[in-house]
């Protein structure tokens, strides 16, 4: 069964360093989401892509976060510079255009020291 892949699974970094996360969607899924999940909270949307275009990045802290999906397939989320408050689980999810079910990846757990 096809699944959303994410890497790395864990990342430890020092504040002010740059980090990047990668997501490989289920084949054919045009819509891709990046969520941030702080411990004890539900996932919160950071950015949504439709193919290679950003649909919604209203909650993305654009001074330090960036996201791209250049060929409309896999995607990267970058933080530069990382801050202590960025420690969280970063989840990628994808969906087919006509289906509302979102399929989630295993997440990348980021720890900023």
């Amino acid at each position: 069964e096809a699944e959303v892949a994410q890497s790395p699974r864990y990342k430890i970094t020092e504040k002010s360093q740059a980090v990047a996360f990668w997501c490989d969607p289920i084949s054919g899924h045009a819509t891709l989401y990046w969520y941030r999940q702080i411990l004890g909270q539900g996932p919160e949307l950071l950015v949504q892509f439709q193919d290679e275009s950003v649909v919604d990045d209203s909650q993305l802290p654009k001074d330090r976060f960036s996201a791209e999906r250049l060929k409309g397939v896999d995607s990267t989320l970058k933080i530069q510079p990382a801050e202590l408050g960025d420690s969280a689980m970063y989840l990628c999810a994808t969906t087919q255009g006509s289906n509302n079910e979102q399929f989630f990846g295993p997440g990348t757990r980021l720890t900023v020291l």
Partner: protein
């Protein structure tokens, strides 16, 4: 703005007992409501959605627009139901903007 509230952070029941996980929402239009579940060491996955009107793993949820609620129920809890449950809302307008708003989650523990 849309909001999802799950008032219980933790819920503990005994095997065979009924279970109800509460979810209330705030949204001005007609939303689509979902329950997502995360079992230990597994990824977040869809449990059920109100438009399907299905019973999944014995769970049901009814959308009550008057009370703006979407509580998840199961008449007889099983140990394998122990997991984190998230209620989520999507604007009913849909289109290309399938944006989910999640609650903070309820950790259900079913004791033997």
């Amino acid at each position: 703005a849309q909001r999802v509230t799950q008032p219980e952070k933790l819920l503990s029941v005994f095997k065979g007992a009924p279970v109800e996980l509460k979810c209330n929402y705030s949204y001005s239009g007609s939303p689509e409501l979902f329950w997502y579940v995360q079992y230990s060491r597994q990824r977040l996955q869809l449990l059920l959605r109100h438009i399907s009107r299905e019973s999944i793993k014995g769970f049901t949820a009814d959308l009550n627009k008057g009370e703006t609620s979407f509580h998840l129920k199961k008449p007889f809890a099983q140990e394998e139901d122990s997991a984190m449950y998230y209620c989520a809302l999507m604007p009913g307008s849909g289109g290309s903007n399938y944006k989910l708003t999640f609650g903070k989650g309820t950790l259900l523990t079913v004791n033997p």
